[in-house]
C-alpha cells in the first residue's frame, strides 16, 4: 500500500468526534503525546470487533494515514510486555 508506515503504541478506547455526526468510541493507538484512530480495511469505522480485541494491548501496526489522525491498517502484531 502506498505511503505505508509503522506505528507502535498502546491501544485504548477514546471518544472521537464528540458532538459531531461521527461521534463514537474509537479504538485508538496512543504513543506518548500522539494518538491515531485505528481502522481496518473493510471494517466498520465506528465499531470493529476485531479491533476491540486489541484494547489494552501494546501493538505495532503497519498502515497508511487516511487523515492525520486515522490509520488504515494493513497488518498488526501484539508486542510482548517487555517490548
Amino acid at each position: 500500500m502506498a505511503g505505508s508506515k509503522r506505528f507502535t503504541g498502546n491501544v485504548v478506547k477514546k471518544r472521537w468526534g464528540k458532538g459531531s455526526k461521527s461521534d463514537h468510541m474509537a479504538v485508538v493507538l496512543e504513543s506518548g503525546e500522539s494518538f491515531h484512530r485505528l481502522r481496518r480495511v473493510g471494517g466498520n469505522p465506528f465499531f470493529d470487533e476485531e479491533l476491540e480485541k486489541l484494547v489494552g494491548k501494546k501493538i505495532e501496526v503497519k498502515g497508511s494515514l487516511m487523515d492525520p489522525y486515522t490509520i488504515l491498517l494493513t497488518s498488526w502484531q501484539e508486542l510482548d510486555k517487555s517490548g
Partner: protein, 533 residues
C-alpha cells in the same frame, strides 16, 4: 452577456486524460453548451490556466489563492453570470481549505474545511470562513474522480448534465440513524411539506440492501453517520453502527435525474479511490445518473431531536425545500446557505461557520429538477426528443429570474455586512472555565460588524476593524462534554436556559455531546447542544 460560466483547468485535465481525452471532454462540453442554449442559457467555458478577459493565469494547479483570484476575475469580467460550474475534482480545481474553528483533536480532527463556499463569494482569497459568511453566487461542481485516467467517466457526467430534462417525480427514500429519529422526522416534515407522508428507514432496525423500488425514488435524504474516505454511511443505536448504505448498493438502481441530500459526516468528500477505499458515495450516485448531491466535505454537526434542529439539519432541509420549489440545484444551495445563516440567531457560532463552509453541491448548478429553464431564444440542433422534452415545461421569464437572483445577492451582501460571527481566541483551547462543566472548552470572541448602513466592507479584517461596538466580554464557549460530566452539564444548562432564552431544547441532555454557550461575563445569553448525528 452570458448566464453560465464553466471554469476548469485544461492543463490538469490534459495531465489526467491526455490530449485525446481532452478532445473528448471539449466535445462533451460543446454538447452541454448547445443544450444550455436550448434552455435559454448562454454558456462560456474558461480555462483558469489560460483565461481570457485579462484574468491572471493559474500556474500551479493546486494553488488555491491563484485559482480563487482567477475565478473571481473571470466571474466579474463576464458580468456576474447566473451560474458558476466548476468542472473537475479537487485535483483540477482545488477546494479552498478554510480554517476549522472547531479543530480540537480528537473531538474535531479537521484542521481545515475543504470548501467551495469561497467560489460563491466575491470576497477575496482568505482562509477564514467568516470572510465568506454572505454568499451571493450560484455555484456547483461537476467532479471527475481524483486521480482518474478514465475520461469516459467525466464525459458521461457532462453528458448527464447535457441531457437532463427533469427529475421524474417527488417520491423519496429517507434513511436515518435510529438515534436521530426525532430530528429526521422533523427534517422530513419540513423538507417535503405537504407531499404525502413518507416512511423513514431507521437504521437499525432496518438495514440494506434496499430494494430497487426504494432506490429508484428520485429524491434521497440521508441523515446517517459517515467516515473519512469511506463509501458507506452508517446507522446507530447504543454502541452499534450498522451499515445504512453502501456505494456499491446503489449501482444500477439510481433513477436518472435523482437529487441526493446527505447530512452525514464526509458525505460529499472527494478522494482518490483505491482498492481499500473504493469510489465515494456521491460520485457513485453521480456516475449512476443522479443530477446532484448536496453534502459535507468532513465532520458535520446537527441534532438528534426535533426541537434542537441545527447546523446540517437546517441547511439540508432548506436545500430540499428550494429544489421542490423549482429552484435550480445551485440556487437551492445558495438559498439554503442564506436561510441557514439567517436562522442562526444573533451570532453565527463556530458550528454554524463550519456547516456553512463544508456543505457543497456536486452537480451542474443550472440543473432545475422541477422547474423549467429560461425562455430559449431559438432552438438549435441537439436531438428532437430533447427539444420536445424541454418545450413541455413552461419556461421562466428572464426578468423574473433576474429579479429573484438580485434579491438573493442582496441578501448575501446584507449578511456579509451585518452578521456577527465567532472568532477563536488562541491559547484558550484547554480552559475548563465557563458555565458548563465538562472536558475541553474552546473560547471564541464575538465579532460584531458595523451597522448595515455603513459603507460595505466584505473582508473580516475590515469589518472587525470597524467594530467599535464590540463587547469584549461577550464570548462563545464550545465545551466537549465527557460522559462523567454529563449530569453536571445537564444541570448547569437547565439553569442557563432559565436565565436567558436559549436556542433549541436545552432542558434535556440525554447523553454526552457538546454544548455551545454564549455568555457576557457570568451571564448566559444562550446555549444549545450539538450532537453526534
Amino acid at each position: 452577456m452570458i448566464q453560465k460560466l464553466i471554469v476548469t483547468n485544461v492543463a490538469a485535465l490534459k495531465k489526467k486524460y491526455g490530449a485525446a481525452g481532452l478532445k473528448l471532454i471539449q466535445k462533451a462540453l460543446a454538447r452541454l453548451v448547445a443544450a444550455d442554449a436550448l434552455r435559454g442559457l448562454t454558456t462560456r467555458i474558461e480555462a483558469v490556466d489560460n483565461p481570457t478577459r485579462s484574468a491572471p493565469k493559474v500556474t500551479i494547479i493546486g494553488n488555491q489563492r491563484q485559482v480563487k483570484a482567477t475565478i473571481d476575475k473571470l466571474f466579474t469580467a463576464h458580468g456576474s453570470p447566473d451560474y458558476l460550474l466548476i468542472l473537475g475534482g479537487p485535483d483540477v480545481i482545488p477546494h479552498q481549505l478554510l480554517e476549522n474553528p472547531l479543530f480540537s483533536p480528537p473531538d474535531d480532527i479537521d484542521r481545515n474545511v475543504p470548501s467551495d463556499l469561497p467560489y460563491a463569494c466575491s470576497a477575496p482569497f482568505s482562509t477564514k470562513i467568516p470572510d465568506f459568511i454572505g454568499p451571493t453566487r450560484v455555484v456547483g461542481r461537476l467532479p471527475d474522480v481524483v486521480g482518474s485516467r478514465k475520461v469516459a467517466d467525466l464525459v458521461a457526467l457532462i453528458d448527464g448534465a447535457t441531457t437532463f430534462s427533469g427529475t421524474p417525480g417527488k417520491t423519496s427514500l429517507v434513511l436515518s440513524a435510529d438515534e436521530w429519529a426525532g430530528a429526521s422526522r422533523a427534517n422530513v416534515r419540513l423538507a417535503f411539506g405537504a407531499l404525502p407522508r413518507r416512511a423513514i428507514e431507521m437504521v437499525p432496525p432496518k438495514s440494506p440492501p434496499w430494494s430497487s423500488a426504494q432506490l429508484a425514488h428520485p429524491l434521497h435524504f440521508i441523515n446517517c453517520h459517515g467516515d473519512v474516505k469511506t463509501p458507506m454511511f452508517f446507522g446507530s443505536s447504543t454502541a452499534n453502527y450498522p451499515t445504512a448504505l453502501e456505494a456499491s448498493g446503489v449501482v444500477g438502481k439510481v433513477t436518472r435525474g435523482s437529487v441526493i441530500t446527505a447530512e452525514c459526516c464526509y458525505g460529499a468528500q472527494l478522494y482518490k479511490p483505491t482498492k481499500a477505499k473504493p469510489l465515494s458515495i456521491p460520485e457513485t450516485y453521480l456516475s449512476q445518473g443522479a443530477a446532484g448531491f448536496c453534502g459535507s466535505s468532513n465532520i458535520a454537526y446537527g441534532s438528534d431531536s426535533a426541537s434542537g434542529r441545527c447546523a446540517a439539519d437546517i441547511l439540508c432541509v432548506e436545500f430540499v425545500k428550494a429544489v421542490l420549489a423549482k429552484a435550480s440545484l445551485g440556487r437551492a444551495l445558495l438559498e439554503a446557505r442564506i436561510k441557514f445563516i439567517k436562522s442562526t440567531g444573533s451570532v453565527a457560532d463556530p458550528a454554524d461557520e463550519k456547516t456553512l463552509g463544508q456543505f457543497m453541491l456536486l452537480g451542474d448548478p443550472s440543473t432545475r429538477p422541477f422547474g423549467a429553464g429560461l425562455e430559449a431564444p431559438e432552438p438549435r440542433s441537439v436531438t428532437r426528443g430533447f427539444a420536445k422534452a424541454l418545450a413541455a415545461v413552461a419556461p421562466m421569464a428572464p426578468a423574473d429570474h433576474r429579479a429573484g437572483r438580485k434579491a438573493l445577492e442582496q441578501a448575501g451582501d446584507e449578511i456579509a455586512r451585518t452578521k456577527p460571527f465567532a472568532e477563536r481566541v488562541k491559547g484558550a483551547a484547554k480552559s475548563t472555565r465557563g458555565p458548563i462543566p465538562g472536558g475541553k472548552t474552546l473560547i471564541f470572541r464575538v465579532v460584531r460588524p458595523a451597522a448595515a448602513a455603513q459603507p460595505k466592507a466584505k473582508t473580516r479584517g475590515a469589518r472587525a476593524a470597524r467594530s467599535s461596538a464590540d463587547q469584549p466580554t461577550e464570548q462563545i464557549q464550545v465545551t466537549f462534554i465527557t460522559s462523567a460530566d454529563a449530569p453536571r452539564a445537564r444541570s448547569a444548562l437547565r439553569g442557563g436556559a432559565k436565565a436567558a432564552a436559549p436556542r433549541g431544547n436545552q432542558r434535556r441532555i440525554p447523553y454526552t455531546k457538546a454544548v455551545i454557550t454564549r455568555t457576557r461575563g457570568a451571564e448566559v445569553l444562550s446555549s444549545r447542544r450539538i450532537v453526534s448525528k
